[in-house]
Symmetry: C2
Subunit: 362 residues, 2 copies
């Protein structure tokens, strides 16, 4: 067999085709319900299909390959379908998160609740457009979550693989919802601890984006406990690194490269590990600086204020602390990977990915 192509580039088109087939298979059921339900589902399908890098299915697929899954074997198509179902969980998470965060656009398009509010306005329907948009987005997010389970159940993986997959699938959904819950509640309670920020990071991002997808792939392949443990360690560490780098970019990123306004996280009041580290240090060394940080976060800062906060955060040593944490976690994640029984190709893919995640600038 020739070297398989990089999963991060080869997986997305295959995932999209699996998702397209799945939506086609739902069509008789949605047509039977009737009314304009089919149109609403078409909006959900468009949302799912225009989305993203398919990171979670790519990790799941890599986890399966690395545990000895054969991409030319008879199970490959079913496994790919099960991995693709992660995109439907993600669709629910995004559609509902966009309501929670009152986000107006995603990937250059109106968010689902905004799209349906616009339809309401255009049709001059009765009631409040915003309320209608959110109601429909709640229901379409629910549908995506229910269909994620359907897609796994109907994927075609055999009963033994379903049994292995079940607990991982279950843990993953509980963790991401728990992580979202913590994110919302940490923000309103203004929990300033590094521990709280790391907890959100771990469950909302690391477990859901890397650890559990790799674990899912391993479970589908029937991997042994050692490989699963190594994947999970790698996935947790690199997943946290992913978010820590994101936190740094959210304050220090170049808007030309990230595509987001500079210092966005400070204006939005995100309770990141970076900010928690800064506050911790300020509280120990300089109450005046701590007051400035507390008063500034989550307000409509000028570029000059953002610039000053950056200097404060750097001078406090918070950036160094986060960079050190990134280095340590990258090393420990890579160590777990290298000493595992994953295939050489999977190790190479995951290693490249870890380095890209740790060092990216967008």
């Amino acid at each position: 067999m020739s070297t398989p192509p990089d999963p991060m580039t080869s997986v997305p088109p295959a995932v999209e085709s699996a998702l397209r087939e799945f939506f086609a298979s739902r069509r008789p059921g949605t047509d039977a319900v009737g009314g304009t339900f089919t149109d609403a589902v078409a909006a959900l399908e468009a949302f799912v299909l225009r989305g993203g890098k398919r990171v979670r299915p790519a990790f799941a697929w890599t986890g399966w390959l690395g545990a000895g899954g054969d991409p030319a074997g008879p199970d490959a198509a079913a496994v790919l379908r099960a991995c693709s179902a992660l995109e439907l969980v993600q669709a629910c998470a995004l559609v509902h998160d966009d309501i929670i965060d009152s986000s107006r656009t995603r990937r250059g398009f109106p968010t689902v609740h905004v799209e349906f509010a616009d339809r309401h306005r255009a049709g001059r329907w009765s009631g409040e457009p915003g309320r209608f948009g959110e109601s429909i987005a709640i229901l379409l997010g629910d549908l995506a979550l229910a269909w994620a389970d359907d897609m796994v159940r109907e994927s075609g993986v055999d009963a033994a693989a379903q049994t292995r997959l079940g607990p991982v699938w279950s843990a993953m959904r509980t963790e991401v919802l728990g992580g979202q819950y913590l994110d919302v509640s940490t923000e309103v309670t203004a929990d300033e601890s590094v521990a709280a920020a790391l907890r959100v990071n771990r469950y909302k991002t690391a477990a859901y984006t890397i650890e559990r997808p790799l674990h899912l792939g391993a479970a589908l392949a029937g991997a042994d406990d050692d490989l699963i443990a190594a994947y999970r360690e790698f996935g947790t560490d690199i997943g946290i690194v992913f978010q820590l780098r994101d936190d740094l970019l959210g304050v220090f990123g170049d808007p030309e490269v990230t595509g987001k306004p500079s210092g966005d996280d400070l204006r939005e009041g995100k309770r990141t590990v970076l900010f928690a580290e800064a506050l911790l240090r300020a509280d120990e060394s300089d109450r005046g600086t701590a007051d400035v940080l507390r008063r500034s976060i989550g307000t409509d800062l000028s570029d000059e204020q953002v610039h000053r906060l950056r200097t404060i955060i750097t001078d406090l040593g918070a950036v160094d602390a986060v960079e050190r944490r990134i280095d340590e976690l990258t090393s420990s994640g890579l160590r777990a990977l290298e000493s595992s029984s994953a295939t050489a190709e999977a190790k190479a893919s995951l290693r490249a990915l870890a380095m890209a995640v740790a060092r990216r600038d967008a």
Copy 2:
């Protein structure tokens, strides 16, 4: 074996104990996420446990018994767990519906979004209490939906039963979400047709409350196609009857008996079959009356106005039309049941239930 007790009274405590055990089994996972997630899940558990008549599990269980399931046999506990999972789907539907309808109380307690808004206010947290409450309620509803699937997957029913159950479970979730979607969109577009009202009725109530639960029980028991078809016909007909009776009670019910203000459906602007029948007749006979109906629905009516609308609706013949539909559907539902191969006990339970549904006054 002695005659089994009436499922409508014997099932609820068994369902509650299965739900309690299920929540206990989630505890290590939610504790691992940490923070206050466990508290939030406790609020969801309290909501699920204080709820209702367990109608859907009771129908599913009756469907299983009627197809030959043995309540003293080795599968009974697993089947009961799978049937109980319907209550978690229902928890999601109620929690999310209460956000959509801006409902403040349910079963004498604050709704979930109101409860968390209250916690926000009590803690003097930052941001808007209402927004926070809705965000948490969205996430807890999602969790209930995800856990419904977990509860089925972990119920202990064998692989063959899981395979039979899959398509029914899938259809049921799509139908109830489709029905909720239709309900929201029929109201804002003020769709006045009898067909639109019947469609909401069929998918939001009939399929979800009676037809699919019976079907699910039959699938668990491995029933043949004829019995499944009979159950579905009975369930659809009696499910629609249930909602039609509800529509009549929503306008003509005695507040002392129903516990709801008289004429509530008129004030809320519900697009019921009863109202659609009235409007259809008014449009054919008397434009002035049609105008009165259109201007009145969904407004803050006085008791006297409600009284006048009742007279109008009755005089137009809409009540007779709905009562006729109730009689026809009750007869056809019972015919399907009687000629089926369901056990005599199940037939007796379902017959009694159909009569109670058709003739109830609360």
